[in-house]
Each structure stands twice: as structure tokens, then as C-alpha cells.
């Protein structure tokens, strides 16, 4: 049954090519269907075609469900907000939807590669909206190299252990008795491959080119929806598949460098979209750091917070930049006439910075508690310093946007409504965060059960 989440979009993608006029309505229909249907899924392992353990399986557990609800919902909202842009790119968007769902659901490593490529190609096509072909080309080259490396790592792993099921990998590793040294190469290749897409330094030179002139549709999708999916996939792989214990030093250096570089580069920027994209890079580094250190729950919470905040920030930021220009100096006082959008933007920005009353604060507190809990005393200092830098540039941005003389006016009722509702969600979750905690709690146990038993 979970297959429908992938099959229906693919089917309608083909149909929409035949019938260009109705492509957008098909898109809306499929997105709505996906969002609604994802609430009716039951947990379990679905075997495609009934080939038993040898074939491709789809795994639906709490982790996947959270991702499905969140990302399908935001995809639907983003598409609805940007009607004009969506009409032109309807087919690509339907394929993207299929790719995202596939990434979240799959339990097979090669299937992951296929969906990674599908999502990647749709992303490359989306970025053509920016009218900057060289950046899209860069993105294409880097993405393909990354996926290729992932494939290389994948087949080396297969040749060692003989299965491609994600849930069986660890048990097979123990059966064979492979040492971490022999496993280092395939896992590092897979890590690098995913790292390109996940914006880790030093693999992320495509990010600036693609997102610095991003339109509201493509920018939001790439930085919020696709980024969230890739990070969730990365998380699942890091926890259940990869056993990279002796590359800890290297990985930690890469991740800490990502975090610092992202935030510092944002500090220097004076353009609103650049600030947002560098902040995304920094946060992505932090998320992967949490996953590599086993802090699964905190990682998922941070992904949720980031996806929601970046949705709001990019939608408003890209719309402002399109309307009035990219430099923050030109946008001074933009919120004077757009008070509701300003409130939404402020709430999301304060949430990313981690100020109380908002969900980001709860997440940050949990993250710090988790890191401290593993008796690591230096990393919290780095994270706190980075948070300070992040806070400073966001506050600078906010002050400039609220106080100035600008006559920008954005009239998009659906955007205002959805942005405000997400902002309200961020506030509510900041105060009554227990439901979110309960939602996220079963993940760790289920993951352990999967690793040990192969199913649950």
C-alpha cells in the first residue's frame, strides 16, 4: 500500500506529459493525495512484488512517517503558494514528489541510489527557473559525481556482504566478521556521495550558485523540502547501516568545519538569500554531527525545526528579493508594509537562533543536553559560539528589515496564511513541546529492533 505514494505520482507524471494543459491540476491533485494518504499508512515492511527478502522492500516506521507527513505537507503548501511558477514546472514537480517519497520509504540501498538520482535530476531541472545555466550545470556535475561515488561505495559493500537490504546490512557484517578498516572505504564513499547533496563542506560549492538567486518555488523546495529529505535519509543510513568508527576524526573535522564555515560566511553576507543559504549549510552540518554521534532524536527534532523555519524564511526572503532586490540595504524597512509577513519571518528567524517561546529553543536545549551527555566538553562551546554568530546576523537582518523606508508590498494571501500558520506552529511547539517529543520517542527503539531483527 505504501507503494501508492510513489506509484501514483509517477503515473500522473507520465499522464501530465501527454496532456500539458491539465498538468498543474494533476500536480495539485497528486500532492494533496500524497499528503492525505500518508496519514493512513500502517507501519511495517512492504515487499514489492512479493519476492521475499531478496527483492526491494519498503519500510514504514515512525521515522519514515514523520518525514512523509512533514515533507508531503510542505510540498503541497509550497506548490500552492507559487501558482505561476508551478504551472510551468508541473511535470518536474510531480517527479520530484515521487522521488522524495521513494527516498523516505525505501529499505534497499540501490533503490536509494535510483531515487537519489531521480530527486537530483528534478532538482537540477527546478533550478533552471533561476535562469543561471552555469550554476545548474555545476549542480548537475557535482551531483552526478556524488551519486556515482555513492554507487561505487554501494557495490563494494555488496561485494563484501552480499545483500542490499538496509536492515540486513549490520547483521551480515557481524556474520562475516568484517573489520572497520575494510569497511572504511565503502562507507566513506557513501558518506561523501550523500554529503555532496547534503551540503557538507567541502562538497557544497554548488549551494551558493543555485540558491543565491533562487525564486520562491525552487529555493524553498531545494533548501527546505529536498534538504530535509536528504538529511533524513542520511540519518537513517548513518544509524542503521554505516559503521564508520575509525574515521571519526575525519568526519568530525568535516562537520565542525561545515558548521563554522556556514555561519561565518553568513555573517559576512549582505544579501538576504545568501545569508539564508549559508545558514542552511551550517545547520546541515550540525544535523549530520548529531547523527554521527548517535543522538537520533535530537537530529530528527533539529531537522523538523529547520525544515519548518527554512520554509518560512525562504518563501518570504525569495519573494522580497524578487520584488525589491537582493541586497539587504535595498530592502530596509520592507516589513513596514508587510507586517504579517514580517511577524512570520521574525518568528522563524528567532526560532533558528534558538530564542525561547519558539520551537528552535527546545531543540537547541535538547541538542546541547545530548552532546553534553556524552561528556564532550569542547563541542558545546563551538556550538554556542556559532549560535552567537548566527544570532547576530539574523538580528542584524531583522533590524534592517523592520526599520527603514521601503515600499515593497507583497500580496499573496495564501502565502501569508501558510507562513503565519507555520509560525504559529513554531510558537505552539515551543511552549507545548511534549506532543512532539512523544512523536519522536519511538524512533530509537524501532531502529534498534530493525537492526537486530530485520523487521519489527
Amino acid at each position: 500500500m505504501a507503494v501508492l505514494l510513489i506509484a501514483i505520482p509517477l503515473l500522473f507524471a507520465f499522464v501530465s506529459i501527454l496532456n500539458k494543459k491539465y498538468a498543474f491540476y494533476l500536480l495539485a491533485l497528486v500532492a494533496a493525495f500524497n499528503f492525505v494518504f500518508s496519514f493512513f499508512l500502517e507501519k511495517g515492511m512492504y515487499s514489492i512484488g512479493g519476492f521475499g527478502p531478496f527483492g526491494i522492500n519498503l519500510l514504514v516506521d515512525q521515522y519514515a512517517l514523520i518525514g512523509l507527513w512533514l515533507l508531503n505537507g510542505l510540498f503541497f503548501l509550497t506548490v500552492m503558494i507559487n501558482l505561476k511558477a508551478s504551472k510551468k514546472l508541473a511535470t518536474v514537480l510531480i517527479v520530484l514528489l515521487a522521488g522524495i517519497n521513494g527516498l523516505l520509504l525505501t529499505n534497499d540501498l540501490f533503490n536509494l541510489f535510483v531515487f537519489l538520482e531521480i530527486t537530483g535530476i528534478s532538482a537540477y531541472l527546478l533550478t533552471t527557473e533561476n535562469k543561471k545555466p552555469v550554476s545548474s550545470f555545476n549542480y548537475l556535475v557535482q551531483g552526478t559525481v556524488g551519486s556515482g561515488l555513492y554507487l561505487l561505495g554501494l557495490v563494494i559493500l555488496y561485494s563484501m556482504i552480499g545483500t542490499l537490504n538496509m536492515s540486513d546490512v549490520i547483521s551480515r557484517i557481524y556474520t562475516i566478521g568484517a573489520t572497520p578498516t575494510t569497511l572504511l572505504l565503502p562507507f566513506m564513499l557513501m558518506f561523501i556521495g550523500l554529503g555532496v547533496e547534503a551540503k557538507l563542506l567541502p562538497f557544497n560549492s554548488w549551494v551558493k550558485g543555485v540558491l543565491e538567486k533562487a525564486k520562491p518555488l525552487s529555493g524553498t523546495l531545494v533548501s527546505s523540502v529536498i534538504a530535509g529529505t536528504i538529511l533524513l535519509v542520511f540519518g537513517r543510513l548513518l544509524t542503521t547501516v554505516m559503521v564508520i568508527s575509525n574515521a571519526d576524526m575525519l568526519i568530525t573535522i568535516i562537520l565542525i568545519a561545515t558548521i563554522i564555515a556556514g555561519e561565518v560566511a553568513a555573517f559576512k553576507s549582505t544579501r538576504i538569500r545568501e545569508i539564508l543559504l549559508f545558514s542552511s549549510i551550517g545547520q546541515a552540518g550540525l544535523v549530520v554531527y548529531l547523527f554521527t554521534h548517535g543522538l537520533l532524536m535530537q537530529g530528527v527534532l533539529l531537522i523538523i525545526a529547520n525544515v519548518l523555519s527554512k520554509f518560512v524564511l525562504f518563501t518570504i526572503g525569495a519573494s522580497l528579493a524578487e520584488a525589491a532586490g537582493d541586497e539587504v540595504e535595498e530592502l530596509r524597512g520592507a516589513f513596514k508594509n508587510n507586517k504579517l509577513l514580517g511577524i512570520g519571518f521574525t518568528v522563524a528567524a528567532l526560532s533558528v537562533t534558538g530564542l525561547p517561546l519558539f520551537f528552535g529553543f527546545v531543540v537547541k536545549l535538547n541538542v546541547l543536553l545530548g552532546i553534553f551527555g556524552s561528556y564532550d566538553l569542547i563541542t558545546p562551546i563551538i556550538i554556542l559560539v556559532v549560535s552567537l554568530i548566527e544570532g547576530v546576523y539574523f538580528i542584524k537582518l531583522l533590524m534592517k528589515l523592520w526599520y527603514g523606508e521601503s515600499n515593497v508590498q507583497i500580496k499573496n494571501v495564501l502565502m501569508t496564511v501558510s507562513v503565519l500558520s507555520v509560525a504559529v506552529v513554531l510558537i505552539v511547539l515551543g511552549v507545548y513541546y511534549q506532543p512532539m517529543m512523544d512523536l519522536v520517542a519511538p524512533i530509537k527503539d524501532e531502529m534498534i529492533m530493525i537492526i537486530q531483527g530485520g523487521s519489527f
Binding site: V141, L201, F361, S387
Partner: protein
């Protein structure tokens, strides 16, 4: 029984109501702030001193827990009183703000946060409300002039907050709980020293101690006047609260500095406090803007408070709490008086004003009383606290710190005299011929504050029970009093007698003034020298460059500002480097790094 949680929630709700009402009519919204803050103050005072505040929390989820202590009640009542008094000014300043609706909302949210800080039971609650105050007050600042001040405020405040957060999580992981009393009592050894230091960093950042002094003049100079008053009288006291937690509740056992009988770390804090006093006083003397002058004065007084808590015996700590009380009253009154001047004349630069006493006599008296209190002259409240602090300093043979405190006292008289003489006294400027006295609604809070200051100075024993409760709660001896007198180490202070002597002196001088002939009035700008006409009278005006000979001694700014600027520039340069190096237009950078990392791994494998 007053449910504390309801108070906090009602304040927040009141803020939302104020926001909505402000959209209809700005004055009504501001009136809501007056009502709500007044309600908060009176409820807290009435129930708090009657020891019947209920601390159960039902609606807000489980990380927020309150605990009613005498310490918390003291601070909360004082700060909510300040907010209440200042809120009377809100309706008048409402038109000058860019976002008046948001102002009212944020004003009340800040109040709610501050009350929450003082009554917090565990550190997480403390931190949540602490940060809440930071960002709500941060958005209040740019409604005055310019936006850079709020960024500076945010940076320094966050440095302090994050130091505290590190300490909190450090303790949480170590103890498994974040309840304030349990955790602070259980700290030992190096852990105690680390937490002590981190909490003090937070306290310094909030109080504006050296080297974090930079944000105070920028913020208080640029913020709207009610906000400056609230900052100086209310929000900085949060820093004092944290200092109390750190210094009095933790007792890190470490080497004693034998000569003065204090532990080493206390003495270091004392030195920092002394430096704060001196630098604050010196910088205040040379200021031309009345608000910046008062800002530096707030920083210097913060130094006095820290100094009092460093010494650690009952007289000093009582003096510290009394100084918090007296300084809050005096500083709020002073800022409000300057606020009146700004409201009527649209400027607060001393060199542009003069002779305001003729237009605003009541404001003049308020300001006079406030600065007398801040300088520590009887018969005001500031004298009592400074007397207590000096007693303790001398008793403990703290020569260096005592010298700094005395210099600060004398200097404080210099700097408070400058606005008084230059702004209020002196001769009228023709520009401000039609300036009137402040409206009645503004006069009320100022008069109340002044009266309280006077009463605190003449009959301090009326306010001592409030402080004695805290002392017994903290485990110290209370101050010995007999009737209306206070008994210190080296003698007895009879404030009523002192006030009577002071009053008699004033009366005598007044009678003499009335008897003797008056001086001749001359136009202010009518100057000439040596037969030549002057074309730049403003520079030779009576109040320009008031203390020029003294100021020439230290013309340059303190060097700390340059360090902060260079840190910011270094971070920006790092950002530029990252952007240049890693984020270029060609796909090769990524591939290059991929190859490099792969080679690194394979090399490791082979070897």
C-alpha cells in the same frame, strides 16, 4: 492566595490585549500597559509580603517551575514597581515610535519575563525567562534612534546567557536535576569554580561591568526614554540577581587571600567591580548627552552592588540589597526627568540646554533628589547603602577597593552635578522659550519615586524588614537596628538626625538667599571677549565642555571598544575567506576535495 503562574500568563495576555487595542487607539493601548503593570506590582507586593503566593504551575508545561523566595519577592516587587512607574510615560511617547502596538506588547512581555526570572525554581526556567527578556527588550530598543545598539546589546547579553547556559547544562548533566537550590548547594571543587565564573560572566554582561560596559551607553543613549528607564531600573537588576546566586549561594572553597580575609576569586571580582566604578565614573564625567551620562552612572553603581556582594558579611550584603533598592528608585527617577526634558525639547544634549528650572521646577526637584541619592549624599536612600558598604570595606581592610569606592563617590558628585548645573540651572536659551512643565500624568510617578527615595533615606528601617527576610533566608545575620538607627561596625547611624541637620542647613541657606540682593540677569548668548565679537557662541556657552581641565587628562576612549571591533572584523574576514575559497563558480572545487579526501583515506589504508 495569588497564583504566580496566572500572574505571568495574565501579563502576557495583557500584552496581546494592549497590542490589539493599540491598533484602535494608541493611548488606550498604553493605558492598558499602565493598568497591567500596576496590577502586577500591587498583587505581588500585597501577596508577596504577606507570604501567600501560590507557586503551583498547571498550564505551562513541566519545564517551568516557580518557587517563591524572599529574594525573588524583593526583586520582583522592586522591578515591577519600576515598570509600573515608567508605564505612566507610555501614552505620551507612543506617537514617536515606529511600531507603537508592538511596543506595548513587548513592554508587557518583558515584564512577564522579568517576573518569571526572579521566581524561577530551576535553572531551565530561569534561562527561558532570561532569554525571553533579552529578545523582547531587544526589539524595544530600536524604536528610539538607530538599530546598531540592539545588535550590540544582543551580542553582550548572549555572551552572558550562553556562559550561563553552559554552566546550566554542565550542572544538569552532572547532577541530573536543574533545581537551583539543590544544584548550587551541591557544587564542590573545580566544578564550583567553573560554574561560579560562568554565572558571574552572565551577571557582568547584564549589569554592564567592565569589560562588558560597551553596550550600556549605546543602548540607553539610543533607546526611547521609558525603555532606558526600564533598563536601568529593572533589567539590569537581573544581573544583580544572578550575582547573588553565584556569589552567595555557591561557596567555592579555594585559597584565601590572607591580607584581606577574602577568598581569591571574590577578590578578583572585587577588583573588576572597582575598575567598573572608576571607569564608569570617569566616562560619565565627560559625557555631553544626559542619557549616556546616566548610563555610565548605572554601570558604576552596578560596580558598587558587585563590590558589596563580594565582601560577604552581613553588613555588606544588606548594603548591597539596599543599594539595589535605592539605585533603582533614583536611576528611574533621573531617567524619567531627562525623559520629560526630551519630551518637551526633543533633545538631551546638555550643551544645547540650560535654565530648565524656570520652565520645569518640579522636574528639577525630582532630578535633584535622584542625583543626590546616586551620589550618596544624605538625606537620600543612596547615602544609607553607601554608608553600609563603606563600613564593610573599611572593616575588612580592603584598602584598594575602598579607595576606588571613595573616588567613585566623589566622581559621582562631579558627574551628577554637570546635568544639574548645565541643564536645569544656568540661563535660559532663547530657543526654548515656550517649554512648559511636564503633564500631570508624568509628574505623578516622578513625585512618588522621589518621596520614596527620601523616606528610604530618612527612615531606612522601614524598608529593612524586606531585606532582613532575605538575609535570614540566605543564612546571614540581619543588620542590627535600634529604633530608627542603624548599628554598623564603627558606629551608629541615625538617619533622621542626619536628615534633620541637612534640612536645617538648607533652610538657613534659603533664608540667606531671600535676604540678600539678587544678581543681574544677562542674555545667555550675549558674550564677548577682549572687545571682539564671538561668532560661535555655542562653544562658549556656560555648559559646553563643562569639565574641560579634568577631561583633558584622559582624552582617549577606553581600549576595550577596539578589541570588540577587531573581533568582529576577524570573523568577517574568515567568512570572506570561506566564501572565496569554497564557493566558486566551477565544479572543480568539489571534485578536488572529493579526490583529496579519498586519497587521504586510501593512503591511510595502505599505510
Amino acid at each position: 492566595m495569588l497564583n504566580l503562574e496566572l500572574v505571568v500568563l495574565a501579563t502576557l495576555l495583557g500584552g496581546v490585549v494592549a497590542y490589539l487595542l493599540s491598533m484602535i487607539n494608541k493611548r488606550v493601548g498604553s493605558a492598558v500597559t499602565i493598568l497591567v503593570s500596576g496590577a502586577v506590582f500591587s498583587l505581588l507586593a500585597y501577596y508577596g509580603f504577606g507570604n501567600s503566593i501560590d507557586q503551583t504551575v498547571e498550564l505551562i508545561p513541566n519545564f517551568v517551575m516557580f518557587k517563591v523566595t524572599a529574594l525573588g519577592t524583593f526583586f520582583a516587587v522592586l522591578v515591577s514597581f519600576v515598570f509600573f512607574m515608567v508605564s505612566f510615560f507610555n501614552p505620551f511617547f507612543a506617537e514617536r515610535y515606529k511600531y507603537p502596538n508592538a511596543f506595548n506588547l513587548l513592554y508587557l512581555m518583558t515584564l512577564a519575563g522579568v517576573v518569571g526570572v526572579f521566581y524561577a525554581s530551576n535553572f531551565i526556567t530561569l534561562f527561558v525567562f532570561f532569554e525571553l527578556v533579552v529578545w523582547t527588550s531587544m526589539f524595544l530598543i530600536p524604536m528610539g534612534k538607530g538599530t546598531k545598539a540592539s545588535i550590540t546589546y544582543f551580542v553582550f547579553s548572549t555572551v552572558g546567557s550562553f556562559a550561563m547556559l553552559y554552566a546550566i547544562i554542565f550542572m544538569a548533566v552532572g547532577f541530573g536535576t536543574t533545581d537551583i537550590d539543590t544544584v548550587l548547594a551541591g557544587l564542590t571543587g573545580t566544578a564550583a569554580l567553573i560554574v561560579y565564573g560562568l554565572l558571574l560572566v552572565a551577571s557582568f554582561a547584564k549589569l554592564g561591568a567592565y569589560p562588558f560596559m560597551v553596550w550600556l551607553p549605546k543602548v540607553l543613549g539610543n533607546a526611547p526614554d521609558p525603555v532606558s528607564a526600564v533598563f536601568s531600573g529593572g533589567i539590569e537588576k537581573m544581573g544583580a540577581f544572578i550575582a547573588v546566586l553565584a556569589m552567595i549561594k555557591i561557596s567555592p572553597a579555594s585559597a584565601m587571600f590572607e591580607a584581606v580575609g577574602l577568598p581569591v576569586q571574590n577578590y578578583i571580582v572585587g577588583v573588576i567591580a572597582a575598575v567598573t566604578i572608576i571607569v564608569g565614573t570617569m566616562m560619565a564625567i565627560r559625557q555631553d548627552d544626559a542619557k549616556k551620562l546616566l548610563a555610565y552612572s548605572s554601570a558604576a553603581n552596578g560596580g558598587y552592588i558587585l563590590l558589596a556582594f563580594t565582601i560577604g558579611n552581613s553588613v555588606a550584603i544588606t548594603g548591597g540589597f539596599f543599594h539595589i533598592f535605592a539605585h533603582a528608585l533614583a536611576s528611574t527617577a533621573a531617567f524619567l526627568a531627562i525623559g520629560v526634558v526630551t519630551y518637551r525639547t526633543k533633545t538631551s544634549k546638555i550643551s544645547e540646554l540650560g535654565g530648565m528650572i524656570h520652565h520645569m521646577p518640579i522636574t528639577y526637584v525630582v532630578y535633584l533628589a535622584a542625583i543626590i541619592s546616586m551620589a550618596g549624599i544624605p538625606p537620600m536612600g543612596g547615602f544609607i547603602s553607601k554608608w553600609l558598604i563603606f563600613q564593610a570595606l573599611i572593616q575588612n581592610n580592603l584598602v584598594f577597593l575602598a579607595t576606588a569606592a571613595f573616588i567613585g563617590s566623589i566622581g559621582s558628585f562631579l558627574y551628577v552635578f554637570r546635568p544639574l548645573a548645565a541643564l536645569f540651572l544656568g540661563q535660559k536659551l532663547p530657543k526654548y522659550k515656550d517649554v512648559k512643565e511636564a503633564p500631570l500624568l508624568m509628574l505623578i510617578p516622578m513625585i512618588i519615586l522621589t518621596l520614596l527615595s527620601v523616606v528610604a533615606g530618612v527612615f531606612p528601617t522601614l524598608f529593612l524588614p524586606m531585606i532582613n527576610n532575605i538575609m535570614t533566608e540566605l543564612g546571614f545575620q540581619t543588620l542590627m537596628t535600634s529604633g530608627f538607627q542603624i548599628i554598623g561596625f564603627n558606629g551608629t547611624l541615625d538617619p533622621a538626625l542626619v536628615a534633620a541637620v541637612f534640612g536645617t542647613g538648607v533652610l538657613v541657606v534659603f533664608i540667606l538667599f531671600m535676604i540678600f540682593p539678587k544678581s543681574r540677569k544677562v542674555g545667555l548668548m550675549d558674550t564677548y571677549t577682549g572687545g571682539e565679537f564671538i561668532y560661535t557662541e555655542e562653544l562658549l556657552h556656560y555648559s559646553a565642555d563643562f569639565y574641560a581641565p579634568l577631561e583633558r587628562l584622559y582624552r582617549k576612549e577606553p581600549f576595550v571598544n577596539k578589541i570588540y571591533d577587531s573581533i568582529r572584523i576577524k570573523v568577517e574576514e574568515l567568512g570572506a575567506f570561506v566564501r572565496y575559497f569554497f564557493f566558486t563558480n566551477k565544479p572543480e572545487v568539489t571534485v578536488f576535495w572529493i579526490v583529496a579526501i579519498l586519497l587521504f583515506i586510501v593512503w591511510g589504508d595502505i599505510i
